[in-house]
């Protein structure tokens, strides 16, 4: 199931995930929970969003056919982190979802159609006919959010990351 094209997509996705984790490295629990922008999200919420709405949803549910009942029921619940939950727990959850996703990707052909087709996609004006499109979508999502974190990290403590 491994092809040069798939390996390239896997490496690029791994690179953006590492950037997400790298740009957060060294932030304190308070900094990870600090809302920096008017819209009020914080780094830990974004990380949980990536774990639940990107890695888990796209790979475990859409590609792998697992149930959708894992998702928090409250509006934007994927961005809401219980104040008592340690930051390390959310970081661990993201790494764990990545490991699940990688196992599913390894066992699936790029041309394989998804196990689950979400009626929401049509409302978004998008279609995801195969694993390739889904990997590209998660690559883009992770890259955009890595860009958000680059800028937020600078606003929190001035640390800059090498710009592409």
């Amino acid at each position: 199931m491994a092809t040069a094209e798939k390996e390239l997509l896997q490496r690029r996705l791994a690179g953006q995930r590492e950037h997400v984790l790298g740009i957060l490295d060294g932030l304190s629990d308070e900094q990870l929970r600090r809302p920096v922008l008017p819209s009020g999200w914080h780094c830990l919420g974004l990380l949980q969003h990536l774990a639940l709405s990107d890695e888990h949803y796209w790979f475990r549910c859409v590609v792998g056919g697992e149930p959708l009942d894992y998702f928090p029921s409250e509006p934007n619940g994927d961005w809401i982190v219980d104040p008592g939950r340690p930051a390390s727990d959310v970081l661990e959850q993201y790494r764990d979802e990545i490991a699940h996703a990688d196992a599913i990707i390894a066992a699936t052909d790029l041309e394989a159609p998804p196990a689950y087709t979400d009626p929401q996609w049509a409302q978004w004006g998008m279609s995801f006919p195969d694993l390739r499109t889904i990997m590209l979508h998660v690559l883009v999502e992770t890259s955009v959010h890595a860009g958000h974190l680059d800028a937020v990290r600078e606003l929190i403590d001035g640390r800059q990351w090498i710009v592409l």
């Binding site: 690029r12 008017p38 690559l139 883009v140 890595a146 860009g147 680059d150 592409l164």
Partner: protein, 163 residues
């Protein structure tokens, strides 16, 4: 849908997002740095135009059309992305470079090895045009994320662009 149509669709969506995020910002906002490192939205757009030209012309084909302006000796190549050029000229530059990139994609299969070279060390070898398209999807998406933040800090608008 073939693989090469899918890749182009994703690249076009990122470019459209960049332009949608900038749409409606006035002259002053476009030239306002929002984070300490000092890049500006317009400077970032010029950088993205330069990235299209570099990757799809210099690296992919080994040659590039003349730049629309001569090198400015006062520019610090290691400094933040800013620009003194007129706004309309920078937008025009970006759109033209994207169109030029698309002609390269029309003419060369994704499996074509690069005819030129990237000027800095990369974390992995640039194998072919497919690699370059993926890189530009990531680079444009990352910078769209930077611009999202800039836009929210400048006038509160969020969630712009197709993506």
């Amino acid at each position: 849908m073939t693989d090469d149509h899918q890749l182009r669709h994703f690249l076009d969506a990122q470019r459209a997002s960049v332009l949608a995020i900038l749409d409606g910002l006035d002259e002053s906002a476009l030239r306002t740095p929002v984070v300490p490192s000092g890049w500006t939205p317009l400077g970032l757009l010029e950088h993205l135009g330069g990235a299209e030209r570099h990757w799809f012309q210099h690296v992919a084909t080994g040659t590039a059309d003349p730049a629309p302006w001569p090198p400015d000796p006062s520019e610090d190549p290691d400094g933040p992305f800013t620009t003194n050029r007129p706004t309309a000229a920078v937008f025009d530059f970006y759109r033209k470079q994207c169109a030029r990139s698309n002609t390269v994609l029309d003419e060369m299969p994704l499996s074509t090895p690069p005819r030129g070279r990237h000027n800095q060390p990369m974390d992995e070898p640039v194998t072919d045009l497919r690699w370059i398209v993926l890189h530009m999807i990531e680079e444009t998406a990352r910078h769209a994320g930077h611009l999202d933040l800039a836009r929210e800090l400048l006038d509160g608008r969020t969630g712009l662009g197709p993506r």
